[in-house]
């Protein structure tokens, strides 16, 4: 115990009884006004959006005002784009063509606008496809860039079904009547049936049906002729012709074939079988047949042009 007891007051730790005088903060007039100004919506928007936007725009504008910097920037961007596009992963090295004949294959490869290998960004597939579809021989094409840098073209070619002779030459048509190619002469494709006449290509489906229906007389068939863009004539050899109606041409042709089978109609001297009115078939006889009849009846004979011959005995 110390000799002298210190009775002086010392600060107590708990000190509950001396209430702390609170600080009395009051904003100065300036601070008060600034705070009120900050709470004004216009100022707030101006400072929060307007000023940063203006600063960014001004910095960018100042920096871009120099010609060299602009050139550097655009050059850099272009170089970057080039660098990405000419990466190994985007290179197209070869082109494969499936389902095309050698001629079409060659034409396709010639149509590719760039030389391989090229970047796949340089090949505009939709445009190329549209360009390829201009070729008549191609019905559809599926173009795609396959992994491994292969430009694959899967081609469906049009099937030649008919030959169409018209004023400007001979063309090969497919089943739908679409042009496949032009040929110089009939002998190039002797396997295809021939049609002729204006608007024959528009009725090619009916023509094919008629040719299918003409089974027994097919060896004699020379071709079909479209008349008045309306109906068909079946032209056989020996100058015989079957005129078919506009509606029900196949049925009429089958009726004619049935007549032929039953009575050998086409083996006789008949130049024309007129079936244009199905209820009233008409036969036009040849000159020899008519002369035979006329002779039997004692009438003057007819010449090859159909006129009555002057009797040589009388005239001579």
């Amino acid at each position: 115990m110390p000799d002298v007891i210190d009775h002086r007051p010392r600060p107590r730790a708990d000190a509950p009884s001396s209430p702390r005088i609170k600080r009395d903060p009051a904003p100065s007039r300036l601070k008060y006004r600034l705070e009120r100004m900050w709470l004004t919506p216009l100022y707030r928007r101006l400072l929060r959006v307007g000023v940063p936007a203006f600063l960014i725009a001004m910095t960018a504008g100042l920096w871009l005002s120099d010609e060299d910097r602009r050139a550097t920037l655009t050059g850099g961007v272009t170089a970057l784009i080039d660098k990405v596009q000419s990466r190994e992963e985007f290179q197209v090295r070869m082109m494969t063509v499936e389902g095309a004949s050698p001629v079409v294959d060659k034409a396709l490869r010639a149509m590719l606008p760039v030389d391989l290998p090229a970047s796949s960004f340089d090949i505009d597939l939709p445009a190329l496809r549209l360009q390829v579809m201009q070729l008549d021989a191609i019905e559809s094409i599926d173009l795609r860039v396959k992994p491994g840098g292969i430009l694959s073209a899967v081609v469906t070619e049009r099937e030649p079904a008919l030959l169409w002779r018209h004023a400007r030459g001979i063309e090969i048509l497919d089943e739908g009547g679409h042009r496949v190619a032009g040929v110089t002469s009939r002998e190039v494709r002797p396997d295809l049936p021939l049609i002729a006449g204006d608007g024959a290509d528009l009725a090619s489906a009916e023509a094919l049906e008629l040719i299918d229906a003409a089974g027994p007389i097919l060896p004699r068939l020379r071709g079909l002729v479209r008349r008045g863009e309306r109906r068909w004539d079946v032209v056989l050899n020996h100058g015989q012709r079957i005129m078919l109606p506009e509606d029900g041409a196949v049925i009429a042709l089958e009726a004619a074939i049935a007549l032929d089978r039953a009575q050998d109609m086409l083996g006789r001297d008949v130049t024309t079988v007129d079936l244009r009115d199905p209820s009233r078939p008409v036969l036009r006889l040849g000159i020899d047949a008519r002369n035979t009849i006329r002779q039997a009846r004692g009438k003057p004979l007819l010449g090859p042009d159909g006129n009555i011959l002057e009797d040589e005995k009388k005239g001579g």
Partner: protein, 444 residues
């Protein structure tokens, strides 16, 4: 009175403009604290049925979005003593409330607690020429009230028509279109000291705020703490403030009397400081934490340390019992209540149909006050808390904020005042074209 008419009208227009903007500030400048509420109005009543609060007596078209209170400075007895200090306090509290609300407050409604209010009951009577009460007749009867000489430098704070009578039918709230020969009205006028009002206006102006309305603090606290039935049937509201105690009497939803007793909680604190020889902050602390009006045996043994920084060990280690604190406080509170009794007697409160008394204000939180008040004022006593308004934080719902809440209600739904009616045609200057127009409109 024409000049007053103009200024009050201007304040009403300002209030309407503030409501249009949707934000209005409430500034309750008291002697011990300043409170600021920021109200957000919506015309459509979207703020309804939130967290289980019902329509709240039709007061639901606004909500509190920012609230702050701070210690008051430069105020004494409800009046501004040091303008610069009060201005600082207003700046502090407005800044804090604005920060909380996130919007700028431009229009405020303030209240004045001191300023020696005096209330007058005026009566006026006119003969109805048309045999029917029209709009202009209401204005004429209000203008016909014979005003006494209010005294030099007095300003009218409230002038509310309390009652209308047509012939012998009295007690009409709205006399328009009644048929009769005579229209009489009673008007309650509250005047305050004009200089005090001017100081308050000046203080608010210096804070860049526009005054959109001004009300008496006693009126505002009564509107907040009297329930609707009490306002209708008649009740007195006693607001124990820091600088004074204000009394207001309501009947039929109108204030008919208001007065102010200039003894308040600050004087109680001063008594404790003098009687127990402790500094004022300590005295305030003793009053709020350990105060009371009824001493019990236990309070004698309840010793409280009153510290000090005098350096004198004996003085700094003193203990006072709670009974000592109560013994100092009680006579002063009795004095306040007796003064209130005198005011009520002078107002004729004994002849009122209902003797309900509501205690509110910060001083009403003294434990045992209602028991003491019941002995002095009358049996029907209750401690009132302000009406609940939307968005007000819980710590701001105690009785000391009743005048702030009342001001919010005043801002939302002001009662009709004399200047809300059209000025009668006779009061207009002769040059006015409008007079001719009105004459035409009234006669055809």
């Amino acid at each position: 009175m024409a000049e007053l008419y103009q200024t009050q009208r201007a304040m009403r227009n300002m209030r309407r403009a503030a409501l249009q903007r949707g934000v209005i500030g409430i500034l309750d400048i008291g002697t011990s604290k300043i409170a600021c509420l920021v109200l957000k109005f919506d015309g459509t009543g979207t703020f309804r049925e939130t967290d289980g609060v019902g329509p709240m007596a039709g007061q639901a078209n606004f909500r509190v979005i920012g609230a702050a209170s701070t210690r008051s400075r430069g105020m004494r007895r409800g009046e501004i003593e040091t303008m610069a200090e009060t201005e600082r306090a207003i700046r502090t509290v407005v800044t804090a409330a604005q920060k909380l609300a996130g919007v700028r407050v431009d229009h405020v409604i303030a209240c004045l607690s001191g300023g020696r209010p005096a209330s007058y009951g005026l009566a006026g009577e006119i003969v109805l020429e048309s045999g029917k009460v029209g709009e202009h007749d209401v204005a004429s009867v209000l203008a016909a009230c014979d005003a006494p000489d209010f005294g030099r430098g007095r300003e009218v704070l409230h002038a509310q028509p309390v009652n209308f009578a047509v012939d012998n039918r009295s007690g009409l709230a709205d006399p328009r279109d009644h048929v009769g020969n005579k229209l009489a009205c009673d008007m309650h006028v509250l005047t305050v000291d004009g200089d005090m009002l001017g100081n308050l206006v000046q203080c608010i102006r210096r804070c860049d705020l526009e005054l959109a309305g001004i009300a008496s603090a006693s009126y505002a606290s009564a509107r907040a703490s009297l329930v609707e039935d009490e306002q209708e049937l008649g009740a007195a509201c006693i607001d124990f403030g820091g600088g004074g105690t204000s009394v207001s009497i309501f009947v039929k939803k109108h204030m008919i009397f208001s007065d102010h007793v200039q003894i308040g909680g600050a004087l109680v604190t001063q008594d404790i400081a003098q009687g127990l020889r402790v500094p004022l902050p300590m005295a305030e602390r003793l009053k709020t934490l350990n105060g009371g009006v009824e001493a019990t045996g236990r309070d004698d043994r309840d010793m409280i340390e009153v510290g000090g920084d005098t350096g004198d060990w004996e003085a700094d280690r003193r203990l006072v019992s709670r009974a000592d604190v109560i013994g100092v406080m009680r006579p002063r509170i009795e004095e306040i209540l007796e003064n209130v009794r005198q005011v009520l007697d002078a107002a004729g409160f004994d002849f009122m149909p209902s003797q309900q008394i509501v205690l509110t204000g910060g001083g009403s939180q003294i434990p045992g006050l209602d028991g003491l008040a019941a002995r002095i004022l009358g049996p029907n006593i209750r401690c009132g808390r302000p009406l609940r308004i939307d968005g007000l934080a819980h710590q701001l719902t105690d009785p000391s904020f009743s005048s702030a809440v009342g001001l919010a209600l005043f801002a939302a739904h002001p009662q009709d005042e004399w200047w809300d009616f059209e000025m009668p045609a006779e009061a207009y200057p002769a040059r006015s074209l409008r007079r001719a127009y009105r004459w035409f409109r009234n006669n055809w």
